[in-house]
Symmetry: C2
Subunit: 433 residues, 2 copies
């Protein structure tokens, strides 16, 4: 690690380490970075890129806030502000497509293919809907968009596509009995804030408290995992399983430095050069999957699969038998750790074979399996905890009828402390909490 | 204007004009910009900076979307998705602090004063609440935040302040009988997308359709304007009246080029150098207002004044007599043009004396009065249309009891076409639609 001379600006300690990187790169005036960034999580490559799988700072920032009516539920649930009925509750949720938009931007600029923006719409919507599905909220949802664009490089036809595809995608979900209403949203020209474009949605729903699926994972539970890759009956093509998490790593680890030079607006100028686009691939290079060539750019941009068509019949039939539904988003296969409320060991010893996309990322990134499983979904992005093995089997049948592979990927055991065990071929990766 | 060699990438025409600017600036690799950006609105300095007072592209993008139950209302109003009651409706709204965060960032870096981030929270919240107030929605609102930060330069203590001040500000509004519940939100580390930090909120409310304040402005209406500057009884210090619109112009026109060199992350690298920080002022320079020196950075960062404490008693008492409430946000004093549904002339011939802040901006920017009135609120950010002069006078009394100067700033006349007339001292500025 380079020497670091601390410096104080305002109330923050700054360090000149990255100034050195910048000067080496010689196309920027010096910057200063908060010293705590350089000291924290430096062992994780993911964190060197200015993102955090653990989001510790965010959790610290919100720890004073009220946890809502069901403190261990997957989403915050508040009283029925809009109806004033003690038997009902409200849920308001927000999420974005994150840095996946940056890859869509490069792909669109390189190929002229506008359709990748449709994937971004689905990514941002699904990141909200699939979180809400974890509490059993699958219908009568209102949604609003917040789009911030750099008008200098993102023309109106991209905006039109983003806004109109939102409506198209909601109509598609409607065919599966999922009713979501678009209320509108805000689209701002903020090129002084947003490098390219930021695409987010916020959702609102009201439901009966008795219908909430809370999280109370118990020893003896079976874990049903629903695959994030393949092609569901409601998908138009093979889905690589990327989702919307780990994109900062996937983008920089897989793709070539040529994109840093061509599109400096596509990445954070404050991260060290040695983690910027360090891969060997071009967006248009291809990889063979199921004996078919797949464009790697499109593979990483696979739209986040929604599990709503699968979860709606499952929740409606087995709501009371479910001990928890976990959306394996930020935190990947360790996401469940945030919802363990007793001394149990989550044993994941029958996971899906690592899909080609994650094999590719691992080869390019050289990440440890420990980090891979903390950043990426690695094959299933949704998991359901249930005590009754027959119910687990029924869930698997429902999923397969919709073309979503699923299997019992593990079980829950008593333990002396909260732990997660991931079995990867011969390796055992153990996380303690 | 420099020569422009068009070039096609994908389906977009690009032009090398700004490449020339970049090369002159010599610290960037070449970029290409959509040619239509260079051709459109080039007469407005505001648009050269990659923002649009008219937001024409955005309006084109959303024109296919349903307009809701009250197509001419200030906010989109949809059926009662959450309650299914035909007598009720739902409102979901979204807005951000826009590029004001970029100025707060520079001010915080220069001075170490964290408190400017509290103003940003209020800006983003008020941009939502004051829009919703225009349809008569002033209570029982749920709010969620969406914060995207560059973790490399925005530390956790800024996040904590943003999130905790949201709760503090809602508690302050509660003292005026305005009940708003924070449901939580999303805070994402997206340094590959966001240069510094983006702060937005989304709000949701359910109300009775009979209580909606629609817009139906008529000849004979009086226009009551509520001042955006001064100090309301619910404000802690003098408010310059900035609001959250026109900040891209105010920042670049007022402040010195030194900030372009020190904080390149604070502006859009795709805009021509001749519109980047072209002013003469430093953030810590001062201006004398009411015989007191005021710090210019703080003056421009004055938190957007909320009118809720004023509008709540007004709407509760005179809901049925109000023909329209207009929040003069984007579009400034011409905002009402979007809600004129008949041939009328909006005559604004008794506006507030231009506040010192806008005088300063005009001196530094050298903008025409025509553009100033289209970009900035120029002294009042909220206006109420009413036929009964006595009701107008009562509104003025209510506002003054809360320390908000207000006056009849104009009237509505019959006309052969929709027009707005602004009388500025000897000048008449006429906008036709």
């Amino acid at each position: 690690m380079l020497m670091c001379q601390p410096k104080v600006i305002g109330n923050v300690n700054y360090c000149s380490l990255k100034v050195v990187n910048r000067i080496q790169n010689s196309n920027f005036v010096p910057y200063f970075l908060p010293i705590q960034e350089l000291m924290s999580d430096h062992d994780l490559k993911y964190d060197k890129r200015g993102v955090s799988a653990s989001k510790n700072e965010v959790h610290d920032a919100i720890k004073k806030l009220d946890k809502g009516l069901f403190p261990n539920a997957f989403c915050k649930i508040i009283p029925d502000i809009t109806g004033g009925d003690p038997e009902y509750c409200n849920i308001m949720h927000a999420d974005t497509a994150g840095t996946k938009t940056s890859l869509a931007y490069i792909y669109w600029r390189e190929t002229g293919d506008l359709s990748v923006w449709k994937g971004i719409v689905e990514d941002a919507i699904v990141m909200n809907l699939d979180d809400m599905a974890c509490i059993g909220c699958l219908n009568h949802i209102v949604i609003s968009s917040t789009i911030g664009r750099n008008k200098s490089i993102i023309p109106g036809d991209v905006l039109s596509l983003l806004i109109n595809h939102t409506q198209e995608y909601l109509e598609k979900l409607n065919k599966y009995g999922i009713n979501i209403t678009l209320s509108g949203g805000e689209t701002a020209d903020v090129g002084d804030i947003v490098k390219t474009i930021d695409v987010g949605y916020t959702t609102f729903a009201r439901m009966q408290r008795k219908d909430i699926v809370d999280i109370n994972i118990k020893p003896g539970d079976y874990i049903v995992g629903f695959s994030s890759f393949g092609q569901a009956v409601y998908e138009d093509e093979y889905n690589g399983g990327m989702g919307s998490n780990g994109l900062t790593s996937a983008r920089h680890d897989v793709f070539s430095k040529v994109y840093a030079e061509k599109y400096p607006e596509s990445y954070n100028q404050f991260i060290p050069d040695d983690v910027v686009y360090t891969g060997s691939k071009l967006l248009t290079d291809s990889i063979t999957i199921n004996n078919k060539p797949m464009n790697i750019g499109k593979l990483v941009l696979s739209p986040t699969r929604t599990y709503l068509p699968v979860l709606k019949p499952i929740v409606e039939t087995y709501r009371k038998q479910i001990n928890g539904i976990i959306h394996c988003s930020g935190g990947g296969q360790t996401k469940v750790s945030k919802f363990i409320n007793k001394n149990i060991n989550i044993v994941k010893d029958n996971l899906f074979e690592m899909p080609p996309l994650f094999n590719l990322i691992r080869e390019e990134a050289g990440l440890s399996l420990r980090e891979m499983y903390q950043v990426f979904n690695m094959g299933h992005r949704m998991e359901c905890y249930v005590s009754d093995q027959n119910v687990a089997k029924e869930m698997i049948n429902i999923a397969s009828s919709l073309g979503v592979d699923s299997q019992i990927i593990g079980r829950v055991e008593p333990s002396s402390r909260p732990t997660i065990e991931i079995h990867h071929k011969g390796d055992l990766i153990r996380y303690e909490y």
